[in-house]
């Protein structure tokens, strides 16, 4: 125990320098990193180049990057989600309709997004099934999304609708015309996990991945990304410091982004079968 205290002290000491010595921190972390007193969270943030080595710049840097992330949520989820309800009718025009074969059609973009979203959804739901953490409600949900007064299409609702639609299509193809209402109902029930106004931790992870893929379309979503972001988000969202918890979503996004810059080649779909992908 004394040993542990000494190590904790060493970490705190290292993290409170004016300029952190990256090499020494790496060496310390190598033999384990205590989670107490935000040590693990801060070490990961520094080593993933999210926090600068100059500790006096931390506050400004965090503030800027957290705002930038929220801006992305607004642009990629909140605004499109609101627009869908506003312009419900203008969406279906002669030039652009759901069966438009043009790859640049807004609709085909919408379907492509949904396909990607369904895969992310599947992978996030079963994220670390042995931990109840990801199924539990976060104390820091996205306020604009869970506030049901605002008519915003959440990712959750989008997944529900997409699942229902794709079921209908299947039935049409096999020639059965009678819709099985009971089955549809069950699908809806499956997705109502938490009360209105609540959001599970896995849903936050889902949002981070959705935003990441929207911002990195050349890379795309590859299964396994969920396994990488999971531990990062868990570490920040279960930190003892409420500020760290409250910003776990934005912080995880940036740490994940920085981590991907180093391991990207293992996560590029169209490279899977080439020499630099994992398919080889």
């Amino acid at each position: 125990m004394a040993n542990y205290r000494t190590r904790l002290y060493q970490f705190e000491n290292e993290l409170s320098r004016d300029i952190i010595d990256n090499k020494r921190l790496r060496k310390l972390v190598f033999s384990g990193c205590p989670s107490e007193k935000s040590v693990r969270s801060n070490c990961w943030k520094v080593l993933l180049n999210y926090l600068p080595l100059e500790t006096k710049e931390w506050e400004e840097s965090l503030d800027r990057q957290r705002k930038a992330y929220h801006q992305f949520v607004e642009e990629m989820i909140l605004k499109p989600g609101t627009k869908k309800y506003d312009n419900n009718r203008t969406d279906v025009t002669l030039e652009d309709h759901p069966l438009n074969p043009n790859p640049d059609s807004q609709w085909s973009q919408f379907f492509r997004d949904n396909e990607m979203l369904l895969q992310i959804d599947k992978d996030c739901r079963r994220l670390c099934p042995d931990l109840s953490f990801f199924q539990s409600a976060t104390p820091y949900p996205c306020k604009e999304l869970v506030n049901s007064d605002l008519m915003i299409e959440t990712l959750r609702r989008r997944v529900e609708q997409t699942v229902l639609k794709s079921q209908n299509v299947c039935k049409n193809r096999s020639g059965i015309t009678i819709t099985d209402f009971k089955k549809n109902k069950k699908t809806i029930d499956d997705y109502v996990v938490l009360a209105e106004g609540e959001e599970a931790h896995w849903e936050v992870v889902e949002r981070i991945l959705f935003i990441y893929v929207k911002l990195n379309p050349g890379q795309g979503y590859v299964q396994g990304m969920n396994e990488i972001i999971g531990p990062i988000y868990y570490t920040f969202a279960s930190d003892s410091n409420p500020d760290c918890q409250a910003h776990a979503e934005a912080d995880s996004f940036w740490c994940f982004t920085n981590l991907m810059s180093e391991i990207r080649d293992n996560f590029i779909k169209h490279l899977d079968d080439t020499v630099c992908g994992i398919g080889e």
Binding site: L215, P217, S261, E262, I263, D265, H270, L271, I278
Partner: protein, 212 residues
């Protein structure tokens, strides 16, 4: 198709200068007249031949808009070549070059080959930046320079290929450590010296392959 080398490129520069159009012209040989604002970072690839060797170019096309800068920066790492593009009809895009260059130098490998491109050379009547100014900037900062048109395809092939030639030359001269993947270069499958199953980590260090 197998190749001798893979080079990674990144295309940077202000929004609207024609980065995505240059890539489209290079990979698909067509021109897109409307501005499809790039969100984040897109991808393109094409095979070229240099010195009788097949070289695969893996190209990241970044968004010029300021709000995506923090995302696009995460693509500098591991790029062997950069195309830094300005629009010859908009002086402000030329004035911002220094900022782009600083950003690139700060976040990339020091050996990265940078090609400066003055795009939209077909719009001679609206020219706002003289060709000599582009040449002078390139000379001062040690870059290669070309004027291109993504619309007429003038010099587009040359811009991508000359950058590759420069990288290839640097490999021949031993400037690039081809075993260090952070340099944005990879040796193709048939050129790999070790067990092909291990090729993603065939470089000396062996620490880079994160999977399985």
């Amino acid at each position: 198709m197998s190749y001798a080398y893979l080079f990674k490129y990144i295309i940077i520069g202000d929004t609207g200068v024609g980065k995505s159009c240059l890539l489209l012209q290079f990979t698909d040989k067509r021109f897109q007249p409307v501005h499809d604002l790039t969100i984040g970072v897109e991808f393109g690839a094409r095979m070229i031949t240099i010195d009788g060797k097949q070289i695969k170019l893996q190209i990241w096309d970044t968004a010029g808009q300021e709000s995506f800068r923090s995302i696009t920066r995460s693509y500098y790492r591991g790029a062997a070549g950069a195309l830094l593009v300005y629009d010859i009809t908009r002086r402000d895009t030329f004035n911002h070059l220094t900022t782009w260059l600083e950003d690139a130098r700060q976040h990339s490998s020091s050996n990265m080959v940078i090609m400066l491109i003055g795009n939209k050379s077909d719009l001679e009547a609206r020219r706002d930046v003289k060709k000599e100014e582009g040449e002078a900037f390139a000379r001062e900062h040690g870059l290669i320079f070309m004027e291109t048109s993504a619309k007429t395809a003038a010099n587009v092939e040359e811009a991508f290929i000359n950058t590759a030639k420069e990288i290839y030359q640097k490999i021949q001269d031993g400037v690039f450590d081809i075993n260090n993947e952070a340099n944005g270069i990879k040796i193709g499958p048939q050129h790999s010296l070790t067990n092909p199953g291990m090729s993603s980590s065939s470089g000396g260090g062996n620490q880079s392959s994160g999977c399985c």
